[in-house]
Subunit: 258 residues, 2 copies
Amino acid sequence: MSTVSKAISLLELFSVDEPELGLTEIARRSGFDKATTRRLLVSLTQHGFVEQDSETRFYRLGAGLTRLARIREARFPLLQTALPFIRDLAATTAETVHLSEASNGFLLTVHVEHPARANRVNVNVGEYLPLHSTASGIAFLAHAREPVLETAMAEPLAPFTSRTVTDPADLASLIEATRKRGFSISDQGYEEGVISVGAAILGTDGYSIGTLAIAAPVVRTPKAAATERGKAVAAAAREISERLNGESFEALETRAIA
Amino acid sequence: MSTVSKAISLLELFSVDEPELGLTEIARRSGFDKATTRRLLVSLTQHGFVEQDSETRFYRLGAGLTRLARIREARFPLLQTALPFIRDLAATTAETVHLSEASNGFLLTVHVEHPARANRVNVNVGEYLPLHSTASGIAFLAHAREPVLETAMAEPLAPFTSRTVTDPADLASLIEATRKRGFSISDQGYEEGVISVGAAILGTDGYSIGTLAIAAPVVRTPKAAATERGKAVAAAAREISERLNGESFEALETRAIA
DNA sequence: AATAAGAGTTCAAATAATGAACCGATGAAA
DNA sequence: TTTCATCGGTTCATTATTTGAACTCTTATT
């Protein structure tokens, strides 16, 4: 494992639920020696990737990350562009809406809007999503590059619930249906009791750069509601794609095939 | 230089103006060997910190950064909280408004709102701001921890323009005035022809965690206008501090002294 | 006062990083 | 269409950085 990977893996230990950790704890979780861990943390601190609370001595993610993220966002304003749509969907559906971004073959949740009600689906910012078992993942695959798709299909399809689609052929037809329909549905494929709909956001080259999804408890989601939400995310994803690229969604879709 | 620092220094090469760079270019600018540079880039890519355009082969900052930045933001929602205020200030003043975040002794510009007019002050997201010669920096120092303040005063005060305050004693009185007034003024201290006003945003401990500032061309900024803008940023910074910490600004200020 | 637990440090040994020289592809110039 | 230049990417013996067991220091607990 490269030193750089080690350093970055330390950053990955932080999450929304555990945004601050002590040195020993970080060393324990990463499996690195305390001395090593500290040296890495010091390097990261020097560049503002990590901050240390001067009082508690705990470490947390630093502002340098915000800075770089903003530089990226200036080039690919996915979040900025999608935000109003996410808010709108969250308001009209009163369910959890989340935006994920593609990052070399993975999907990273980048923003989440939760409804103000007790029984809701909780999605954490910073979560990685499996591609074969979530609405986002399937929507992503429906517009992914051939090699990305192949890699995803070749992996063992982990069964997260009893309903997870684990047969590659079934997955292929799900993807095909998603492409036709314009949005994907995952009926408890990732988490028991949760139904999600998702749609891909396309980049200039016509391939997915991210996804938009709505997750809701099955108990209050009749089939018709799911379809309606699906149409809504698809419309939003389409609009976001067009704004980002300044081209019609159809033009983008065709580009990917050529 | 540690390997980690080398890797991160590659990330620092990207900016809003140059968001994409080729391998040779990155190697040239960083001063590392091409092989080394590539190895580092590959490591960074594996973690989503860097992406490579599959067509042009150029490298750019990756979505993994957005993800981590969002995790941080969940803990310190500075940007989220400040955004509406920034927009409001930008709308009412029709001048450049920018938010900076403290990151171990430095100030990083994290968001900028530019007015839609030709003659305006351009501030880039991702820029580091000197502490002694900008409105933001002085506002920051006015509420900084003692050691941070001392370090800043001890450094040689670089003269960016003929009007930059380079005498530590003068700087100290500027800081004192800022503390009393509630906002700082930098009259062409950093860039010729630019006048800025700034105010500190305080954290739970009462010390600055960031700054809010308005930058405008001197030619259209009479003294009265500057004072008015100063009061506006101060009010906004105060409100943001209160929202972030759920405490009155006075309570926060007193905490720092104790 | 004794004990424990965490943060941080040291230095010989182990391991990972380095870079000169290489290949192959692409594109511009002769 | 041949030549030259440039760029992305790779190899492997040499070299320099990273590693971790054992240490100290500080703080909180019994």
